[in-house]
């Protein structure tokens, strides 16, 4: 039970942290609206509250500091200047890590933690520095028993005198319930003292005349007995005297009596009721001098009015306030639904094929209905897919943090500007995009944005700007990271590529080709591994992550002006448009997104190059041919028959190749079925699908086919040949 509540807490934390982040960003942008400030305060406050419930002390302590500082801001006692905003933003980032550590385990960066605490403490006024955060003296019998085991055994008799003041009755406290709580602790005798009760004609109905004398015999410690009266402290005259109380107690009483004169023994703090100069704290008598209105019969009509309005409020509730109502659903259920819809679409294809094969004269009506069925199935599919779609906003917020961290690590000043935060993308895509985006942004800060002095020298603003945009573009999602830094240092990139043997020394590359060398495996421009972007992985990892999502990435750059990384992703991972082809008598699917052009080949177009290379001549340029059947090992070399159709594909580096297949059958949407768990990774195969006839077809991954195929001519070969032509 508590496990699932803790899950709820972490889920809620995510939301609260996002709200904090969002609020702080708005504040950073100059929006000092009290509502924004309040929202941040409440969010951090809730994190603290929840964390306390699970004993996450480190998180509680930090959130408490944050909250205390922010409370000063909220109360307009402190100005929100730039250094404070930055500190709060970094503290918010740290809250993220503390939550992550609490949830996933691991170590907190203590140095960073202490540094932030120290920085926050500077803003905390002295009198509020008491940061102990414990439940107040509410200790019920149980927890005290746990601490004070030896005392539990000894029985004690308490004489209790309890005289409520009239104010007690307006706070909802009932003497009888207090007596019941006492009775639960042991043996209790109650006797009423009504001697103060005046005659019937002089009675004041709002006055409190009754008092009680109680005798309690219990094994509970004195503190438990006192705890019963905690809520009515100051609202009653109370004395608790233990008969055989320890001598220490007697000493304490003597000391108190000395200090307070004739004050009741067990009431150390409250001074006499009518003392007007009494401090507000712990002397609720003072604030209660204006008693809340006592029950009066005339008040009833007001109540019935309120009652009448209540049912209306119930229904109007949802539209009145707050965000649109939402429903939390287990992701697994959504995925089951998506899967089922996928099957439905496959089922439709099979049905359509069966009907087409039927030897019936009048199939047209059936086909019309079937078309309607198909459209409905598509609608359902889109609807279900949209359940998985989420705005990229939380991801972008995380990225703002990455940029802040990266900036401080590299001593550069950068800001992240985000656009299109509400663009919705499949949840999995968002999750798997986090790492590549992090890498690109770190890279942009580390290598893209210049040092402040260099920027000023170049006539740019001191603060580097990185723009992160998301948008929908014809059925796919486009994520762009654009910096206004120095751009790609092309001579240097080329030199490195030559040094690392990625390109031949005399290679002539276009600017775009040089830029895209950044994605080549084994390429890393950092002279030494910096503590930031260079963590032993290059941009090729980013590219792999993006292609793994069925997307592509490329870079454009203008020297002195900056670089732009563009990531194009499919809207969903569950279906894709594919071209159905046959390869060595097998039906396979090639993703449409990677196909630039298809053509039927003839012998004139094929040029042999060396022993095992062939090139396809298209409109005056040459592209290497890759025989898919050969690359997949489906056809023996000696049994080579020239394939009929070529699919021109473009890889992420802009390199083109022609995939040779036997024939093209169809172009259709296919449901992607993962091969994970069915078989291991097969080079050249991305996944599988089920076709209309119920057969399984492999979905090919052109990129990895080309990488696997020995016949796919190397980068430089293509270059040389097209230069030669």
């Amino acid at each position: 039970m508590s496990g699932s509540i803790q899950d709820t807490f972490f889920e809620e934390c995510e939301e609260l942290l996002e709200a904090t982040d969002e609020g702080l960003s708005a504040i950073e942008g100059g929006d000092h609206d009290p509502e924004v400030v309040n929202a941040v305060f409440r969010a951090v406050h809730s994190i603290k509250g929840g964390a306390g419930a699970f004993g996450l002390d480190e998180l509680v302590a930090f959130a408490h500091r944050f909250e205390t500082v922010f409370d000063e801001v909220r109360a307009n006692r402190m100005e929100l200047d730039e250094p404070l905003i930055q500190l709060l933003l970094r503290s918010c980032d740290h809250l993220y890590s503390l939550v992550a550590v609490a949830r996933d385990g691991g170590e907190t960066d203590q140095a960073h933690h202490n540094m932030l605490i120290e920085a926050l403490d500077k803003y905390i006024p002295e009198e509020e520095e008491d940061l102990t955060f414990e439940p107040m003296g509410l200790g019920g019998p149980m927890d005290i028993g746990a601490i004070d085991i030896p005392q539990v055994a000894t029985e004690e008799k308490y004489q209790i005198r309890f005289h409520p003041l009239k104010d007690m009755y307006s706070t909802g406290n009932e003497p009888i319930f207090l007596f019941q709580a006492l009775k639960d602790m042991g043996e209790l005798t109650v006797s009423l003292d009504d001697t103060e009760l005046p005659g019937f004609d002089s009675i004041d109905t709002e006055e409190s005349y009754l008092a009680w004398d109680l005798v309690l015999t219990t094994t509970e410690p004195r503190s438990s007995v006192e705890a019963v009266f905690e809520f009515v402290e100051g609202l009653c005259e109370l004395s608790i005297e233990g008969d055989g109380d320890a001598e220490a107690d007697a000493q304490a009483l003597a000391a108190l009596e000395a200090a307070f004169g004739a004050a009741p023994a067990a009431e150390p703090s409250p001074p006499p009721v009518a003392e007007p100069t009494a401090m507000v704290e712990e002397t609720p008598a003072a604030p209660f001098e204006e008693p809340a209105p006592a029950p009066a019969p005339e008040a009833v009509p007001e109540t019935s009015g309120k009652k009448a309005s209540a049912p209306k409020a119930e229904t109007a509730k949802s539209e009145q306030r707050g965000p649109k109502p939402t429903l939390r659903v287990d992701l697994e259920r959504v995925d089951r639904l998506i899967n089922a819809v996928g099957e439905l679409i496959i089922n439709h294809s099979m049905l359509a094929q069966q009907i087409a094969n039927l030897d019936v004269a009048d199939v047209r009506d059936v086909e019309t209905e079937l078309e309607g069925f198909k459209n409905l199935a598509r609608d359902i599919q889109e609807g279900v897919m949209s359940i998985r779609a989420q705005p990229v906003k939380p991801l972008f917020q995380r990225m703002a943090r990455i940029v802040r961290e990266a900036s401080s690590a590299t001593e550069k000043t950068c800001k992240l500007v985000t656009e299109g935060e509400n663009t919705e993308v499949d949840k999995t895509v968002i999750e798997r995009l986090a790492d590549p985006l992090t890498h690109i942004l770190r890279n942009a800060v580390d290598h893209g944005i210049e040092k402040p002095e260099d920027r000023i020298a170049a006539g740019k603003s001191k603060i580097g700007e990185i723009r992160l945009t998301a948008s929908h573009r014809s059925g796919s999602v486009c994520i762009e990271v654009k910096d206004d830094g120095a751009g790609v240092n092309r001579p240097r990139v080329k030199q490195i590529a030559i040094e690392k043997g990625l390109i031949p020394e005399n290679a002539e590359l276009t600017d775009s080709e040089i830029d895209n060398l950044l994605f080549a495996p084994g390429f890393s421009t950092a002279k030494e591994v910096s503590n930031l972007s260079g963590r032993g992985v290059g941009m090729d990892v980013v590219k792999n992550a993006v292609t793994g999502l069925g997307g592509r990435i490329n870079i454009t750059s203008t020297p002195g002006k900056g670089s732009t990384f563009t990531i194009i992703l499919p809207l969903t991972l569950a279906v894709m448009d594919g071209m159905v082809v046959s390869v060595a008598d097998q039906t396979m699917v090639v993703p449409i997104t990677s196909i630039v052009e298809t053509m039927r080949g003839n012998d004139d177009m094929i040029n042999n190059l060396g022993a095992d290379g062939t090139l396809l001549s298209i409109r005056g340029s040459f592209v290497p041919i890759c025989d898919v059947a050969g690359a997949l090992g489906l056809r023996k070399e000696d049994n080579d028959q020239p394939p009929g159709v070529y699919l021109l594909v473009e890889t992420e580096t802009g390199q083109r190749s022609a995939l040779a297949v036997d024939d093209i059958h169809d172009q259709r949407q296919v449901v992607i079925k993962s091969l994970d768990g069915v078989c291991g990774e097969i080079a050249g195969v991305a996944a599988a699908t089920i076709l209309g006839d119920g057969k399984i077809a492999m979905i090919l991954d052109p990129e990895s086919i080309l990488a696997a195929a020995p016949s796919a001519a190397a980068f430089d070969t293509e270059r040389r040949m097209s230069n030669a032509s």
Partner: protein, 124 residues
């Protein structure tokens, strides 16, 4: 008859915790996500005791107490404040508005039940 608790708290975590603790202890549990909703629900729910947070959107805990106590017939229903705040002036303010008692987060189950017992006499 089970003792009916109306818990008003904007934190889902706290609401879930309360639900678990209270239902296990035999209370009937109803919750509201902020002060406004809590006050709106109050008449329909007709709770035996109210537990309210202080820092909440729309209507804070003080507002809840004031509104509920504003109607005299309700003044007998105990209102327990459940919050991380422990400043004496906050306590005084809540009590001045008519709060019955104060429980500081994080609460432990025993203390919570004990407090509820004290203000409602619940057998649970």
């Amino acid at each position: 008859m089970k003792t009916k608790v109306l818990a008003i708290d904007d934190s889902r975590t706290i609401r879930n915790l309360l639900a678990a603790t209270l239902e296990e202890a035999g209370f009937e549990y109803v919750s509201a996500v902020d002060g406004r909703e809590g006050v709106d629900m109050y008449d329909d729910v007709a709770p035996d005791v109210v537990i309210t947070d202080i820092n909440m959107p729309n209507l804070d805990g003080f507002g809840v107490i004031e509104e509920l106590r504003g109607t005299d017939i309700n003044s007998k229903v105990p209102i327990l404040v459940l919050t991380t705040e422990s400043a004496p002036e906050m306590k005084a303010r809540a009590r001045n508005a008519g709060a019955t008692g104060w429980i500081t987060k994080p609460f432990d189950d025993a203390s919570l039940i004990f407090a509820l017992k004290r203000v409602t006499g619940a057998a649970a």
